[in-house]
Symmetry: C2
Subunit: 369 residues, 2 copies
């Protein structure tokens, strides 16, 4: 890997679950790890201090959003993204591929790149593998992603094949723009939809190019979970053991545990933060909608088995009141609790892999969810 | 005062500024003090933990809002407002008079009380001096307010006189509903618009009834500041030295300093929280609008002279970005900073009164604002 980036595989469970450690210029990340999403340079409703207290070791930011606002030049002037948002630990940026293709802002796609309109002001922009990589270089995240073309689900085999081939060609141009060995590690992104053949072909091509880590993209877009896990397994079976694997945009607690069993090391997802803002909190064994009338007079904590600050201090009845009253504090408290729930889940997974007990955890998840 | 409520006058400055200590069943409040507004049972965007870290000793909640949602019965079932919102320190509730008359929800006003429609669902409700007092008894705040009829500014003398007379008669009925000596202190509210005669008459009537403390209401509603301060002075000159004085809904930092010079002990205002959500931050000597383009590349702290967590960790450029991006974190950070600014101002005033230096502070405020 790069001179400042290293991945150490500490132990491997019989299931395929891996316990690892990623070292970056901004500190280490114990894996498997979940990255809260800080789309526009903040994990929504949460401060850096709270993230540090939660033990979060890495966050994800979106190059697309930061490219449009405040712009990579301003971030560079601030001394980079870490300085601009004052987050001292590692950051991963995605390339913008997903946003360009999903925000209905697409104008033209060609071999060179993608012309699109800003979702903010309609202005026209062009992102290419080179440009997306340069933007991420300006932002200065520790882990950066190749510019790719994800495909929606369902899509016909020919369309998936074409997009995957293009993504693979673009990955080569990203690699040329960002050679191995610096302070930023470049990840290739495996595409291929739900076709095992295309996934294998994409993985093999990326391996030929060679990246510091490998992301698995284009999943959790509506396909059945069994299919998603099958695709993850197809990829991880081919990926080198000594490189980190990152499953993009996944997922529920159940998804995380099953994907870790497939050998995934890194995850990001808006679920704990977005659901928190919308009224849902994760609790041991499930999920509650705090807006429901049944919690109106429920003076118990969100999750009686949780020891986070929200569960120690506040009741379901109070949280429901805050949601009904449209108070910002509702979003804050639920987001904090949900991130704590995810952090605790990842810590439990890491510990159970270390103790060779991950298969027991995996079996228990199947029961409780 | 009540058996659990006491007010101790520690020192008095030549200007009339007072340094005092209010003791309640939920702890003491060093005065002059500013109460952040927690309308619906939360200081908007801020947690209890943050308020405690800011050194906030008392907050205000609105009986009107809590009466409509979640309802005083639910709050009582939770064990009272302190338990429901989990705020361990003193709380002051206003009676709902101001909201009933200002939210354009008014239906009929009579000697018995006020019939109004909920601003939430249009349902019809009736608040009387007795009912408003009972609601506040159910909520269980340490300081509770008489149900009054504030008058808008400007208003003709006859209308002000009539509303003030009615408020005074209602104050007597509140007193009958809530006798002296319990764990909740009842404050009378002086009305009288901007007429010195009516202010004096109202003050004298409330003194005849006798309250644990006295609020000055119906000010900061559009009248010139000199007129407001004149009215405050008219009231405080008549009010007993051994009872706390509370100027409702005031105000800017400048207003606070000048009102303290008139002998006011307690304040509440939405200004630091509401302005924070809308993009304005208080800094030494003034106020900045963080949405302005001039802060786009300004990597200095909000207020270089401030030592709050926001100023230590974040720049104006980052805050501006958060506002432009519509992020909740903008409201959080600015609200926290603004409350810190108010807390620091009150601490400075208390210390300068103790040292007999308040007149110097007063003079310097006039210059910097």
């Amino acid at each position: 890997m790069g001179k400042d980036i290293a991945f150490e595989l500490i132990s491997e469970d019989a299931t395929g679950a891996r316990r690892g450690r990623l070292t970056t210029p901004h500190g280490t990340v114990e894996t498997p790890a979940f990255l809260p999403v800080g789309t526009q340079g903040t994990v929504k409703a949460i401060t850096r201090g709270e993230l540090l207290r939660l033990g979060v070791e890495m966050i994800l930011c979106n190059a697309y959003h930061l490219y449009l606002r405040p712009g990579p030049e301003l971030v560079a002037r601030a001394g980079g993204l870490h300085r601009f948002i004052n987050w001292p630990r590692p950051i991963l940026t995605d390339s913008g591929g997903y946003q360009v293709f999903s925000l209905e802002s697409l104008r033209r796609i060609g071999e060179e790149g993608v012309t699109f309109r800003s979702h903010l002001d309609g202005s026209e922009h062009m992102l290419s593998p080179e440009k997306a990589t340069e933007v991420q270089q300006q932002l200065g995240a520790d882990l950066i992603m190749c510019f790719d073309q994800p495909v929606p689900y369902p899509a016909d085999h020919a369309a998936v094949s074409e997009a995957t081939d293009r993504s693979d060609r673009w990955a080569e141009r990203c690699r040329s723009t960002h050679p191995t060995g610096g302070a930023q590690a470049l990840f290739g992104i495996v595409q291929g939809g739900v076709s095992a053949d295309l996934r294998r072909r994409s993985t093999e091509r990326l391996l030929e190019i060679g990246f510091e880590g490998y992301a698995i993209g284009g999943l959790s877009v509506g396909e059945p979970r069994a299919k998603m896990l099958e695709m993850v397994r197809v990829c991880t079976e081919l990926l080198p053991r000594d490189r980190p694997r990152y499953l993009m945009g996944v997922g529920t607690p159940d998804d995380l545990v099953h994907s870790v069993a497939c050998g995934v090391d890194l995850f990001d997802c808006v679920l704990p933060t977005r659901l928190g803002r919308n009224g849902a909190v994760f609790v041991t064994g499930g999920r509650l909608n705090m807006k429901n009338a049944q919690y109106e007079g429920d003076f118990s904590p969100l999750d009686p088995k949780c020891d986070c600050a929200v569960c120690r201090h506040h009741t379901r009845a109070y949280l429901r009141h805050l949601y009904k009253a449209g108070e910002i504090l509702a979003a804050r408290l639920a987001t904090y609790h949900n991130l704590h729930h995810y952090q605790r889940l990842m810590a439990t997974m890491r510990s159970s892999i270390e103790r060779g007990r991950f298969s027991t955890l995996l079996a228990s998840m199947g029961e409780s969810h």
